[in-house]
Amino acid sequence: MATIRVIYENGSPERVIEFDPAEAPFQHDGQPGSVLDVLLGHSIHLEHACGGNCACTTCHVIVRQGLNRLSEASEQEEDMLDRAPGLTPTSRLGCQAVIEDLHAEIVVVVPRYTINQISESREG
């Protein structure tokens, strides 16, 4: 079984999920077995304004542990992450980061700001 621990920068209570990656997908949005898929499939909300289609950065997470247990980021994901507020070297889009290791122990941080709305936008 794999585990994912979710830490919220805004102080909301942490959540821990144990799951079997082989049972993915858990619901309809994001790549099957992605952080987004796992969280939504276990009734944990993660913003995904574009429906998990790599067209926004609202599912931006910072991977604190287990980065090498996730699928490699595509160029499309990297292009989108370029525009994420609070980008870090271990940032991923939750809808694209697939947990591939059956025994992975993943820790992610949900940043306080994960939006592309006009008030946070960079030059277009």
Binding site: N10, H28, D29, E47, H48, A49, C50, G51, N53, C54, A55, C56, T57, T58, E75, Q76, D79, M80, D82, R83, R112, Y113, I115, N116, Q117, I118, S119, S121, E123, G124
Partner: protein, 234 residues
Amino acid sequence: MERPTYRARVERIFDHCEDTRSLFLRTVSDTLPQYSPGMFVSISIPLANETRVRPYTIATSPEDGEPFELCFNLVPNGPGAAWMFDRTVGDLLDFTGPFGAFTLERAPDCEMVFIAEETTIAPIRPMLRRALSQSAAHQIHLLYAAERSQHLLYRPELELLSNAYPRFRFEPLVIEHEFLYQRLLDEVQRRWVTSDSGRSRHFYVCGIGSGVLKLRDLLREAGYERRAVRYERW
């Protein structure tokens, strides 16, 4: 941070053709937040056993105010699209946003090329209008492709713009679906890769499927800067 949810009422419906529709929406108790051309809103779609969120690009310009327009087609087996198609005048929709990184707030100081297919003209339309209003000196191109001519949306408007702005070249293309992206790749290759060594142009590509990524790769591998090739894949 709790994200606000807005409610809008369907004020008008326009059918571009039998499977492509626009809803014109007006917010009920708030005004639509300020946004950049190209952004989308995230609509809450109530289905039988769950509520899903689906993105729909705002096809009108921020300068136009409300009502704002969402343009979409009826996707086979797409529950979200079917629900949207079932909306009637007076219906209420809940949404968050606007969101999005495929935007054009300020036109770059260079030639611009926009590429779209069918309903993916939705973000391109307000971006193009912003570019025309800001960029007085540079050429602007729009390659707009569809399998059937009735899927070339806003064609009269785009033709009017090309007449009004001599530096804007509008190129509608009717191409069989299986050849569509190869034709676009060939056009881009011929005109902006092979034809000259200049690499200062900016590209804005919106389309469906892997063809968008092939266009991206063609341009970047030809030497265009990564951030000069902007794209949104539906």
